[in-house]
């Protein structure tokens, strides 16, 4: 017992030091920069120049509208997927969640095709495209979170209400809705958070008229207004903390909720019900997968019909860039592997610490904080802080470290439940069969947790491939990542650039989809 405790103490040291230097220290630096008027401007002027009030108001306003729209549109879809069984239900529901895991640049690229200036519905640089993109992105959250709850509600509760004279709507209002409320609240909080901290979508699709706090941090930074950017980042942190605190409270309520369901879900019966159920599912699938399909088609569209010209062009040098797009793809893959290795190492160690402890501590909170902190803040913090004690800002490892930071919570979240679920009896059984404590770790804990760790690593790789917010601050011009390259090509008006952006977005989308599906396959294989 005691030697185990002692080894835990140094296990905890590595993740703690990593997070202290690469996460806490940059945040403190941002706070410091925002409070010290380095260039001698009065405080009020800093706030005014950065237009903090306007930016914060727009962030809250668009996030609120996005959340309401997502929940309203998501509820029927959640209902269709969670109250009925039909062939291919799981597969279709998994397909529904693909947009959620797509990198923002991919979504932005797809929406530029659908709603670009030359399209029949030119919505780019209006607020509508921002709202539509947020609904598109987050619909899966409502379907998964609310649907998961809905599926577990016992039919007999509603049946009981019906026998007592409630009509369908009254039964829904008085039974189902109150039971779903914690799930709706939790989903709303997540959607709000994602919309509130939205960066790539707003930056690429919103034009210069619309700025969330994230986008404003980025713009102030590139206008060399460090203090304005830092102040905005602090406002952002406060906002995120408030949302996360509320979410944590709802989440606890959701867990205490008891829901029991026995037996199988019914298949939709009758023409009317089938039309409604499959109609909803069909519409949702078209809305969620259509843009991605359009993107793929557009990537094969050239000035003279369909072909691979856009892809072929990726290997040739481009006047505006130091490297070819193909090099950017290579960079992304290398960064992804490095970030994955780092995230698995640090997240794995942290998971062992968390799983072997009884109560949740400051350590758990510290580990989960990067999840709530926006990637832009992390990237900005890196450039502000990491010149001390040695200047890391030009290091090759900077991008993988930032990506690992964003990905560690994913590794921890997939690994801890598995480690914690290993009953101590298994370890004791191994011991009575002659396994030493080290053999127990190697033969029992590690093999059981390996799948989860691999899944977490896969997620880390996918996160790294698509990461744009932090990378846009720290990627060196000579070593752009795939999303950074896509962003630059999208920002240029030439048709050739647009074609290449489409080809790269398609590649990024497919690689991400393959990784995510492989992880899902892992999980399914577990059951």
């Amino acid at each position: 017992m005691d030697p185990n405790r002692r080894s835990l103490r140094w296990l905890i040291a590595i993740p703690t030091l990593f997070l202290a230097y690469f996460f806490v220290y940059p945040l403190v630096s941002i706070l410091w920069v925002s409070l010290t008027t380095g260039d001698g401007r009065p405080w009020a002027e800093v706030l005014q120049t950065a237009r903090i009030g306007r930016v914060a108001w727009f962030s809250v306003w668009q996030a609120t509208v996005s959340t309401v729209l997502t929940v309203l549109l998501g509820l029927p879809v959640a209902w269709a997927f969670s109250r009925f069984d039909f062939p291919g239900r799981r597969l279709l529901r998994a397909a529904m969640t693909i947009p959620f895991v797509m990198p923002t640049v991919v979504v932005a690229a797809a929406f530029m095709v659908l709603f670009g200036r030359t399209s029949p519905l030119p919505l780019v640089e209006t607020v509508w495209i921002i709202l539509i993109a947020h609904v598109f992105y987050n619909l899966a959250v409502v379907v998964r979170v609310v649907g998961g709850m809905w599926e577990s509600i016992d039919d007999r509760l509603v049946e009981a209400a019906r026998t007592m004279g409630a009509n369908r709507w009254e039964a829904f209002k008085s039974i189902t809705l109150p039971l779903l409320r914690p799930a709706i609240a939790a989903a709303s909080a997540i959607v709000f958070l994602f919309s509130f901290t939205s960066f790539g979508v707003v930056l690429l699709l919103g034009g210069i008229r619309y700025s969330t706090i994230e986008v404003a941090v980025w713009r102030r930074y590139f206008l060399l207004d460090l203090q304005g950017a830092a102040t905005l980042a602090v406002v952002q942190l406060i906002g995120v903390t408030v949302v996360l605190t509320v979410y944590a409270r709802w989440q606890r309520k959701r867990q205490t909720q008891q829901a029991v369901r026995t037996g199988r879900l019914p298949t939709p019966t009758g023409l009317k019900q089938r039309t409604v159920v499959f109609g909803i599912i069909g519409l949702a699938l078209v809305a969620e997968l259509g843009p991605l399909v359009t993107l793929v088609i557009r990537s094969f569209t050239t000035t003279d019909g369909y072909g691979f010209a856009n892809y072929a062009a990726l290997t040739s040098p481009d006047s505006a860039f130091l490297v070819t797009p193909a090099t950017a793809i290579g960079n992304s893959l290398q960064f992804g592997l490095a970030a994955m290795a780092l995230a698995v190492l640090i997240g794995g160690l942290a998971s062992v610490v968390i799983a072997t402890r009884r109560s949740s501590t400051w350590f758990d909170t510290l580990l989960m904080l990067p999840l709530g902190t926006s990637a832009v803040t992390i990237g900005f913090g890196f450039v502000v802080a990491l010149d001390w004690p040695i200047d890391l800002r030009t290091s090759v490892m900077l991008v993988p470290i930032a990506h690992a930071l964003v990905a560690i919570p994913f590794v921890v979240r997939t690994t801890v439940p598995v480690l914690a679920s290993i009953r101590n009896h298994l370890r004791e059984a191994a011991a009575t069969l002659g396994a030493s404590p080290r053999q127990v770790l190697r033969k029992i804990d590690f093999p059981i947790a390996a799948k989860a760790l691999a899944a977490g690593g896969g997620l880390a790789f996918a996160v790294s491939l698509g990461e744009f917010g932090a990378t846009s601050f720290i990627a060196r011009p000579s070593a752009p990542t795939l999303p950074v390259a896509i962003f630059r090509f999208l920002a240029r008006p030439a048709e050739a650039s647009f074609g290449k952006a489409m080809a790269m977005s398609t590649i990024l989308m497919l690689v991400t989809a393959v990784v995510i599906l492989a992880i899902d396959g892992y999980r399914a294989g577990d059951l």
Partner: protein, 316 residues
């Protein structure tokens, strides 16, 4: 030979096992019988080395085991929930102990097959443990504990998680197998039928102490005190004017043409006989079976064979 001297153990600062003394001879099967919370499972875990002693000593063939960690004791332990390794096949589970002993891979396979033969799971080594029924899992857990040929086998509620019918059958099989192989075994159970059916000796535990330890027949014939008698299912305990608290063995009571008059309180037909509960004139209840039909509320005369009366007073 296993020997426990004045063994005490605590969990979370609370003493669960108090001053236990017990000897288990080679080839002997001892049952630790007690209600839940009596400390019997903890005592078993103490013997395995999974729970440290706070006092006393556990020795094997005279050697003190306190410095020996569980993985070096070579005691087979079977957990109530089986604790099968979910990431290994049936064969991978059964062969684990041999692997740990450093047995070469090519010799493990035949030994695993033999162990599976013993428990009636021939040829199932490739199966995933998740695909097994409760009874099959129980057998895999047993085979896994047996395969490394442990010098002592420790079974914690070996059939406790199974349904009644299966339990009876598996207990018989288990008893046969343990005796055939002359395995020194300690089995923990809360079911007296299991304990009596399996063990050479039964140690009854109550609140962390062994309150009685004897062969099943002896224990049944002469339970040492009222608590043990009641725990073993003997409820005919009355106050005798001369001797104080006594146990009246059910088979000692019979309806006779002359004797003590009692009123029949209830009659239940049970396995071909009638189970009567009667009330004596001084208000004490007795139960016994008879082949004679009677009706509730009638008066009958009973006689009690003095040799069927066990004195429970004067004992703790």
């Amino acid at each position: 030979m296993l020997e426990l001297r004045d063994v005490s153990a605590a969990l979370g600062g609370v003493t669960i096992v108090h001053d236990v003394n017990l000897e288990v001879a080679d080839g002997e099967i001892v049952a630790l019988l007690g209600p839940s919370g009596s400390g019997k499972s903890t005592l078993l875990r103490v013997i395995a080395g999974l729970v440290p002693l706070t006092q006393g000593a556990v020795t094997w063939a005279g050697q003190d085991l306190s410095p020996v960690p569980p993985h070096l004791r070579n005691f087979g332990f079977m957990f109530q929930d089986y604790a099968l390794f979910p990431h290994r096949t049936v064969g991978g589970n059964v062969g684990f102990g041999l692997e740990m002993q450093g047995v070469p891979d090519d010799q493990i396979a035949p030994k695993v097959e033999t162990a599976l033969d013993w428990v009636g799971l021939t040829g199932m080594g490739k199966r995933a443990v998740a695909s097994l029924s409760g009874g099959e899992q129980q057998r895999v857990a047993l085979a896994r504990a047996l395969a490394p040929e442990p010098r002592l086998l420790l079974l914690d509620e070996p059939v406790g998680s199974l349904d009644r019918e299966l339990r009876t059958r598996l207990i018989d099989e288990l008893a046969d197998m343990l005796r055939e192989r002359e395995l020194t075994t300690i089995v923990v159970t809360h079911d007296q039928g299991e304990a009596f059916g399996l063990a050479d000796r039964v140690a009854v535990m109550r609140t962390g102490r062994i309150v009685a330890c004897a062969a099943p027949a002896t224990l049944w014939r002469e339970p040492p005190d009222e608590w043990t008698a009641r725990f073993l299912g003997m409820t005919n305990i009355i106050d005798d004017p001369q001797r104080g608290r006594v146990l009246v063995r059910p088979e000692a009571t019979s309806i006779e043409s002359e004797g003590q008059p009692v009123i029949v309180e209830s009659v239940a037909f049970q396995e071909g006989r009638y189970r009567l509960t009667v009330m004596t004139p001084d208000g004490q209840r007795l139960s016994f079976t008879t082949s004679q039909p009677t009706t509730t509320g009638t008066e009958v005369l009973i006689a009690i064979d003095p040799s069927g009366i066990v004195d429970l007073s004067g004992r703790p």
